[in-house]
C-alpha cells in the first residue's frame, strides 16, 4: 500500500528578480511528522504557501491523494484537506475565538439555516479543552497573547479535520509548557493518521517531534531522510553548506573607541535589559531566531519605536533619540529588514530614493539642488555598483538585489558613524550578497561601527568580530569571533545554553 498522501515534484517559483524555489521535491506520508528544515530565505515558507494555495508555482506538479491537483486558492486547498498555520497574522483580531476558528466554515442550524453559535461554541470549548487552553470561546482574539493566538490557529486546523496540517514556526512564540501541549497535539494528529508538516528553526524540537525531514537551501532541494538515522551535526551541515564559509572577506579592522553603549534597554512586551557596547571599526553580529526581538531593539535605538526604560550613550554622552531624524544627527543609520515596505519608495526613482535621507543637507535652503542630487547618486551608485539604465529609473523596476543596493547607497550617503543593518542580504542573489559583504568590510575598515542583524549563521560567523545572541527578547550570550561556532550559537539562540 502506498500511503504517500502528497508528492510535490520539481516545484519552481520566481518572484521578481529572485528565484525562490528551483525544482524542489517533497513528499509526505499519512501519519508522519515531517520537518521542513532550512535557513531564512531557503524557501520553506514559499513551498508551504504553494501547498496552501496562496502562491501558484511557475513549474512543477503536485500529486495529492494519488491525483494531480492545482491549488488555485487557499480555499480550494483547505477544502481538499490541507490546513496551514501561516507565520503572518491570518486572524481577525476583532472577532471572538469561536468565530476565528469557524469563519469560512461556519456551522449552520439544520432546521432554519441560521448559524448555530451554541454548537460552534461547544466545539470550540471542546477543542480548547483538548489543547488544555484556558481561554473563553467568546474572548476577542485581539485580547489574546501571541502564544494564545497560535494555539487558536492550531485549534482551527483541528476543527477543519485536515489530512495535512502545516505548521510554519508554530512554536516561535510559545512557552515551554505550551510547546509541550503542542507536541501532545501533534502526536495525537499522528495517531489519527494525519500528516504534519513542521517548520522550525529549533533543531532540538525537530529531533523531539519529527519522523522524517527534508532540507532546503537557497531554494534548492538538498536532501531528506529519517530523523532516527541522522545527527544534529549532519543536519546543521546540510542546512549551512560547507562551501559558503570561504567567501567572507574577514578583514581584521582595527577597533577604536566605544562609540555606542546601550544599557538595560527595555521595551515592554518586546525585549528587556539589553546591554552592549559597539566600537569604531567593529562589526557586531546579532543572531537569534525569528521573533527574538533583534529588529525591535534596533528600531528602538534608531528612534522609530519608543523605549520603556534604559539608556543609550553615543561617544560617552547620554542621548534621547525620539525619531529617525534625530538618530541621523548622531551619526546613526538603519537599513531595515523589509526592503519594499520600509527601505525604498518603489514608485520613486533611484535618485530620489538615494538622496531622501540627506535631502536637507544637499539642498540650498529649502530648494532642491538637482545637479548635486545627480552627482551624489552617481558617486554612491557607482561605488555600490547599482545596475540600472539610468538614475531616473523607478526603483520598482529594479531587481531585488539592486533595490537593496539603493537602500545601502541611501544610508552610506548619510556618512554614518554607526551603521545598523537588519538582514541586509535577505532574499538577494549570491553575487549581490558578495558585493554587500565586501561593502560592509570596507566600511568597517574606514572606522565605521557596524551592527549586523542576520538570521544566516554563515553570514554572522563570517562577518562579525563579536557576536551577540538573543532569545525571547533577552541577550543570552556574547561571543568573540574565535570562540563562536555554528553549534554554540544555535544552542544560545534556542535558549538551551543556560539550562
Amino acid at each position: 500500500m502506498n500511503n504517500c498522501i502528497l508528492e510535490m515534484k520539481g516545484i519552481r517559483k520566481y518572484f521578481y528578480g529572485v528565484k525562490a524555489l528551483e525544482g524542489v521535491d517533497f513528499k509526505i506520508k499519512t501519519g508522519e511528522v515531517h520537518a521542513l528544515i532550512g535557513e531564512n530565505g531557503a524557501g520553506k515558507s514559499t513551498l508551504v504557501k504553494i501547498l496552501a494555495g496562496v502562491y501558484q508555482p511557475n513549474a512543477g506538479t503536485i500529486i495529492f491523494n494519488h491525483k494531480s491537483v492545482q491549488f488555485l486558492s487557499p480555499q480550494i486547498s483547505q477544502q481538499a484537506g490541507i490546513s496551514a498555520i501561516h507565520q503572518e497574522a491570518t486572524m481577525f483580531p476583532e472577532l471572538s475565538v469561536t468565530e476565528n476558528i469557524f469563519i469560512g466554515h461556519h456551522i449552520r442550524n439544520k432546521s432554519n439555516g441560521l448559524l448555530s453559535w451554541k454548537e460552534m461554541k461547544d466545539k470550540t470549548q471542546a477543542l480548547l479543552n483538548r489543547l488544555e487552553l484556558d481561554i473563553h470561546p467568546d474572548t476577542k482574539v485581539k485580547n489574546l497573547s501571541v502564544a494564545q493566538r497560535h494555539m487558536v490557529e492550531v485549534a482551527k486546523a483541528l476543527s477543519l479535520n485536515a489530512k495535512i496540517v502545516i505548521m510554519d514556526e508554530p512554536t516561535s512564540a510559545l512557552t515551554i509548557k505550551e510547546v509541550e501541549y503542542l507536541y501532545k497535539i501533534i502526536r495525537k494528529l499522528k495517531s489519527e493518521n494525519k500528516a504534519v508538516i513542521f517548520i522550525s528553526h529549533k533543531f532540538e524540537e525537530i529531533f523531539e517531534i519529527a519522523d522524517y525531514f527534508t532540507v532546503l537551501r537557497d531554494g534548492k532541494y538538498i536532501g531528506e531522510g529519517k530523523m532516527a538515522e541522522v545527527t544534529m551535526d549532519e543536519i546543521i551541515q546540510m542546512v549551512i553548506g560547507r562551501n559558503l564559509e570561504h567567501r567572507y572577506p574577514q578583514i581584521e579592522a582595527e577597533q577604536g573607541n566605544t562609540i555606542l553603549k546601550v544599557k538595560n534597554l527595555t521595551r515592554i512586551g518586546f525585549f528587556k535589559d539589553i546591554s552592549f557596547e559597539l566600537h569604531q571599526g567593529e562589526i557586531l553580529g546579532f543572531f537569534g531566531l525569528v521573533g527574538a526581538g533583534r529588529t525591535e531593539v534596533m528600531q528602538t535605538i534608531f528612534g522609530i519605536e519608543a523605549l520603556t526604560s534604559g539608556e543609550v550613550f553615543i561617544n560617552g554622552k547620554k542621548v534621547n533619540i525620539a525619531n529617525p531624524a534625530e538618530a541621523m544627527n548622531y551619526g546613526l543609520a538603519y537599513i531595515p529588514e523589509d526592503r519594499q515596505l520600509q527601505g525604498t519608495i518603489l514608485k520613486m526613482n533611484i535618485k530620489e530614493n538615494v538622496t531622501l535621507s540627506i535631502i536637507n543637507k544637499i539642498s540650498r535652503h529649502f530648494f532642491l539642488d538637482k545637479e548635486k542630487e545627480l552627482k551624489i547618486t552617481e558617486q554612491y551608485g557607482k561605488q555600490i555598483e547599482i545596475k540600472a539604465s539610468s538614475w531616473q529609473q523607478l526603483v520598482e523596476d529594479l531587481s531585488g538585489g539592486n533595490q537593496q543596493k539603493v537602500v545601502l547607497a541611501k544610508w552610506i550617503a548619510t556618512k554614518p558613524r554607526i551603521l545598523i543593518m537588519d538582514e541586509p542580504t535577505k532574499g538577494i542573489d549570491v553575487a549581490t550578497k558578495a558585493t554587500v559583504h565586501n561593502i560592509i568590510s570596507e566600511l568597517a575598515k574606514q572606522g565605521i561601527a557596524i551592527i549586523l542583524v542576520s538570521s544566516e549563521l554563515p553570514e554572522i560567523l563570517g562577518m562579525s568580530n563579536n557576536i551577540i545572541v538573543m532569545h525571547e527578547g533577552a541577550i543570552t550570550t556574547k561571543f568573540t569571533r574565535d570562540k563562536a561556532n555554528s553549534e554554540n550559537i544555535i544552542k544560545a539562540a534556542i535558549g538551551s545554553i543556560l539550562s
Partner: protein, 326 residues
Amino acid sequence: MLVLPQKREFNFFIFIILIIFIISLRTPSFLDLNNFMDILNDTAILTMVAIGQLMIIVTGGIDLSVDASLALTGMSVALLNQHYPEIPLFIIILISITIGLLLGSINGLLVSQAKIPPVITTLGTMSIYRGLVFVICKGTWVSAHEMTEAFREFPRRSFLGISNLIFIALLIIVLFLIFLSLTKTGREIYGVGGNKTAAQYVGINLNKINYLAYTLCGGITGLAGFLWVARYAAAQSETAIGFNFQTIAACVVGGVSITGGSGTVIGVVLGAFFIGIVYDSLTMINVSPFWQMAIQGFIILFAIIINTIMDKRNQQLLLRKRSFNE
C-alpha cells in the same frame, strides 16, 4: 441564541440610563410616556439608516450619500403618490426599497469593481443623487395636501399604542441583528473589515461582500426615504440634508470602529437612541436646534478619539501582560 451584549454596550446602556435620570431631575416631563414615544419615533429612521451605515463602516468603508439617496427615494415616491394616488401603499413601499437598493448598488459597484475609495465614491454620488432630487421635482415641493391620507398617515398609525414607524424600525433591528450575527454572509462582512488578507485565505469574496453592504444599506435608506417624507408630510430638494453625519455619529458613539472590523447592531441602536435623547433634551431646555450640527460633529470627534485611546490602552495592557508571563 443571540449574541450577548458585550461589555462596552452594557456600559453605554448604563450611561444612557444615567443621563436620562439626570435630565429627568431637571425636567420631570422628560420621563413622560408621550415624550418617550416621541423620542422613539424621532430616532426610528436614524436607527434604521445607521444600521445600514454600520454594515458599510464595518467593511472599512463609509457612505456619505445616505441623506441624498433618502431624499431621492422619498421624493420619487412622494411624486408617485401625488400623480398616481391610486397606487396601493405596499407597492409604494416596495418601490421605495427598490430605488434605494438601486442607488446603493451603484455605490457598491463603484467601490467594489471600479475600486474608487468609498469617501470619494459617495461624495460624488451624494451630489449626483441630491441633484437628481432637484431635477425630478423641478425645484418644487410635494406638500401634505398633495399626498394621500394613507401615505401621510402610515408612519403615525399605531397598534397597541406603538406606531408603524417604531414597528418597522424594530423589524429592521431584528432582521439585521439576525443577518449580522446569525448568517454566514453577515459574519463575512466582519471578516472583510477585520483583515482583508485573512478574509481571502478563508475564501471570502471581498468584492461581493462590499457590493452587498452598500446595496443593503441602500435598501434600508430607500425605505427610510418613504417613511421620512410621509412622517414629515413634505418632500423637497433639501430633505434630510446633513443626515449622513447623524448616522455616522450614531455608529461611532455606539462603538463602531471607524477603521472597520467591529461594531454591533445593539451598539448602533443605543448610539442612535443616545443622539435622540440629546437632541430631545436640548429642545426641552430650549436650546435652539441650530446646536444640533455642532453637537453631532463634537460627538463624532469625541467618540472616535475615545475609541482610539481605549484601543491603544488595551494594546499596552496586553503587552504588559505578555512580558510578565515570560
